[in-house]
Structures are given as C-alpha cells and as structure tokens.
Symmetry: C2
C-alpha cells in the first residue's frame, strides 16, 4: 500500500505560524504576552531536550518563558513551595513540571498541587475529569496533539475501531476518552489494551486506528496491523546507537519499516507525535493567557 | 449452559447488614450518625421510586436522611442556592440531586455546584478525574455497584475482554475506566461501544464480560453473546404493561430469556444492578461521614 506520513513536524510548524500571528495580534492590541514557566529537576537527557524544545518554541511564537531548574536532590517540600509560588504569580499564565521526577518526590502530589487553571499539561484530575465528561478544560497535551494531527489530515474516525495500546494517565487513558467523545475527531469504538490483555494481536488486527503508547520499542509488528490502518506511534524510547552523533536513537512502539507498507497513514518517530505535543502545550498556554478555561 | 444469577438484591441485603453493623459501632462509640440528603425535583415516577428507595435504605441502615422536594417549576437559581446551603451544612455528610432535572435547569451546572467532598453520587468532574487516575474518590454509584457485584461472585476479570455498551457520563465512561484499572475487579481489555459503533455485534461476540448501559430495551440478543459470557444489564426502561399492578414493567437492555442460557452469569432486571447502586450510595455516604476522601 502507498502509505502517507502523518507529518507532525510539518503540521506543528503550520500551527506554530498560526499561533505566532495570534500572539502578534494580541500584543498589537495591548494585550498581555502569554507566559509559560517550566520546572526542570535534574539532568535527564530526555527531559533536557523536551524542556529546551518548549523554551525555544515559546521564543519563536513570541511567548514569554521562564525556566526554573533544580538539582536531583531538591526536596518535595521545596518543589511544592515553588509550585505554590507559580500558582500565585499573576504574570505566569501556565506552567509545567517536567516528568519524570526523582523517586523521592511524589509525581501525583506535585501534579495535584498545580492550580488546575494553570495546568497547561492537562494532568490535573480536574482537567482529566472535565475532559472525560466533555467540558472545557486543558486537554492533556499529547492526546490533544494526536487528535489535532488526525484532524489536519482529515482522517475519518466516526464509528471506526480505535485500539489504544497502554493505559497511562498521561496518554493512554486520556486519548481513549477523547477518541470516544461524540465529536470530530472522535466518535470511535475504543478499545484499551495493556500488558495484561489477552488476544492483543487479534484486537490490533481489527483496528482501523492504532494508537501505540506502551513505551515498548517496536512492539507493533506487521502481522498485528490490518491493511489500510492508520497508525499513531507515541513511543519515544532512547536506544543506544553507534551511528548517531548523540549516541542514541529515538525508537517508537511501532516497527516502522515493516508496518508502514500496510498503513494508509502512519506517524514517523521522531517527527510525528512529539512536535504535536509541544504545540498543544503552546495552545493551552494561549488559552490560559486568555483565561478561557473556567 | 447452566447460568447463575448475579443476584444484586441478595448481595445488597448482605452489604446492608454489614453497613448496619458498622453504623451501630460508630454510634456506640459516640460518633456522628451519617446523614444523607436528597433533592427531588418534580414527580417523575422513576425518580420518586429511586428516592423513596434511598430514604428507606438510609432508615434501615441507621443513617439520618433528609428529603428536600421542589416542584417542576423551581428555578435553577433557587436549586443552586439549596445546593450551596447543603454544601455548607456541617451536619449533612453527603447529598444527591436526583436526575433527570426539568429542561430549564442545567444538570451539568448543578452537578458541578455540589461540593465534590459531599458528592456521594460520584458525578462531579473532580471525582471522575480522580477515579480515572486511580486516586481515592467517591466512585460513581452504579459502576461501583457493578464492580462490587462482580467481586462478591469472584468473577475473573484480569486480561478479559469487557465490552461496555453506552458512553454516558454516569455509567458507560466511568465503568469503562474502572474496568481498565490495574486492580480487582479490573485489569480488563475494555471496549466502549455506542450508537455510532460499526461491528457492534462482532465486538459483543468477542466479549468475556458485557456491561449493557444503552437504555435501549432488549438490545442485546442471543446472537450477540459468546457462550459462557458474563452479562451485566444496567438498563431500566419503564415499558407499559397490562399485567403489572403499577401499569409498567422495568425492562433491561438485554433480552434475558434468550441470552441467559448462553451465559455463565447474568444480572436480572429488576434485582440486579439497581439494588447495588443504592448500596454504593450508602457506602459513599459512610465514607463521607468518616471524611475519608481528601
């Protein structure tokens, strides 16, 4: 089959342009410059890259950004104090705490400490709940990016069978909830599979759309994918590599070379879901700045 | 097949006994009597029955209960004022606003006005979101009742395929989220089907567990059910009847007579999920009284 790439990089660039124009208009009208703050703990390679990408994108779009760094040994108390400070800082429209956090800090506690009205990552239970019942909220960034990508490529979703691999709180569960809503993209029959699923292969074979978010490199093989399926790969595992300058290679949950020929559409890794996640964060920050979420 | 009934009435009676003993102990120790309030608007037959059942069960268990009635023409403002009053009433541990409400009142607005710490129906987005991420919360009463029923009958769920029919905010979505959690009952591969689903019949045929919550009388037929499946019927449509004294007959979403012989376990209607829903509400009220939900 002649597959098409779901080119997240290109779509993100286009949305970035749209956001840049909107920010210019806001500023020209004397409005407030949207301001995103990010807290980064430690020096995890992936986290460094992601946060750097977010700060860079803010600059390109015309947002203000603030990066707050802590070493690995920051206490939970100190981190929560900073969260509280950002909650009360009227100039900061939205902020994120880059995950993962060191094991001595409870991620869930930190997520819940963020004022949900500044929770541009969409991780707070209030935003999760509002999303689940279809109310205005900050949509979890990666799932929102995936839906936007499907939308820009006009992928048909109504009544289709969407299989989500993985039940994490930040991708699997929210993307499943979003794909079942009575809207476009959405209106799918949704199946959530995970490590305990029996007949996972058969389930994938019946899928019109597969969203792979297990974090297991090259888990989805050609014999698990129906001819003509749409495949979205959320995986970004860093595997050691001798051919890249960085010494590692980002590897998705899908064995791209053998799966792609069976697909109608497929995301590449990198350049698929990743850039869309950052752009969703920017959209949420703009929403936060406009105070459009109650 | 020799099917067994999932006898909600019997299980609810057993739990009622457990709750009664616990309330006695609390009172004997000088603790506060749990207090449930219910707001009933209008005179819908179903709502009258449900609320009367809740008040009666409170009395039997030893809870205090308060019933607040309004006519159909109550304004949204007046209703919201009462909700606010109950939120602030320290003696009321939990309360419910019986749905449906008249069309001039926004149900969603009322649901969100209830303090989530007194939301013993588990409808508030905060409770939905906390449930979705697996945090302590008031579990939505009907889904919690269904899981408790599966638990008391020791139904195996891990890795099984659970098909949920219907995506309502009060049954379909929350029961799907609960059945996919890494816990027992749960750990299922979960598929949510709805009115837009293609291949709904095939999906049902692959299900080990079917939870039917569409509100379409006798929608699930024998040719949609796999031999040995577990079938839970949430439907309670009132159909006119010339043989009952009340003039109507509660009809489930499952064509019981033809489906039951294929099942390992099946709930009857009435006497299945209904009594479990009321008992879940009582458990939530007890939790509220103990202030165990943060």
């Amino acid at each position: 089959m002649d597959y098409k790439l779901l080119d997240g990089k290109a779509v993100a660039a286009q949305i970035k342009q749209e956001l840049t124009e909107e920010v210019s208009r806001i500023k020209a009208a004397g409005g407030k410059t949207p301001h995103l703050a990010a807290i980064l703990v430690g020096h995890d390679g992936g986290s460094e890259t992601y946060v750097a990408g977010k700060v860079k994108t803010c600059k390109e779009i015309g947002f203000q950004s603030t990066l707050i760094r802590y070493e690995d040994d920051v206490t939970e108390e100190e981190l929560l104090r900073k969260v509280d400070e950002l909650n009360r800082d009227a100039d900061v429209d939205g902020f994120i705490v880059q995950l993962p956090l060191p094991p001595h800090i409870s991620e869930q506690k930190v997520i819940e400490a963020v004022d949900y009205r500044k929770d541009v990552d969409g991780f707070h239970p209030v935003n999760m709940g509002r999303m689940a019942v279809g109310l205005p909220c900050f949509l979890s960034a990666t799932p929102a990016g995936i839906l936007e990508l499907l939308k820009r490529y006009e992928i048909e979703t109504k009544g289709k069978h969407c299989v989500v691999l993985g039940r994490s709180n930040i991708v699997g569960k929210p993307v499943a909830m979003m794909m079942m809503q009575k809207s476009y993209p959405g209106d799918c029959t949704v199946t959530i599979c995970h490590s305990r699923s029996q007949n996972l292969k058969e389930m994938c074979l019946s899928a019109d759309i597969i969203i792979a978010a297990l974090g297991v490199p090259e888990f989805v093989k050609a014999d698990m994918v129906k001819e003509g399926a749409v495949v979205v790969d959320v995986g970004t595992t860093r595997l050691p590599s001798s051919v890249t300058r960085s010494g590692y290679k980002l590897t998705g949950d899908v064995k791209f070379d053998e799966v792609a020929p069976k697909c109608s559409y497929i995301t590449p890794v990198p350049g698929g879901v990743g850039p869309m996640t950052i752009i969703s964060l920017m959209r949420n920050t703009l929403l936060a700045g406009k105070q459009l979420i109650p």
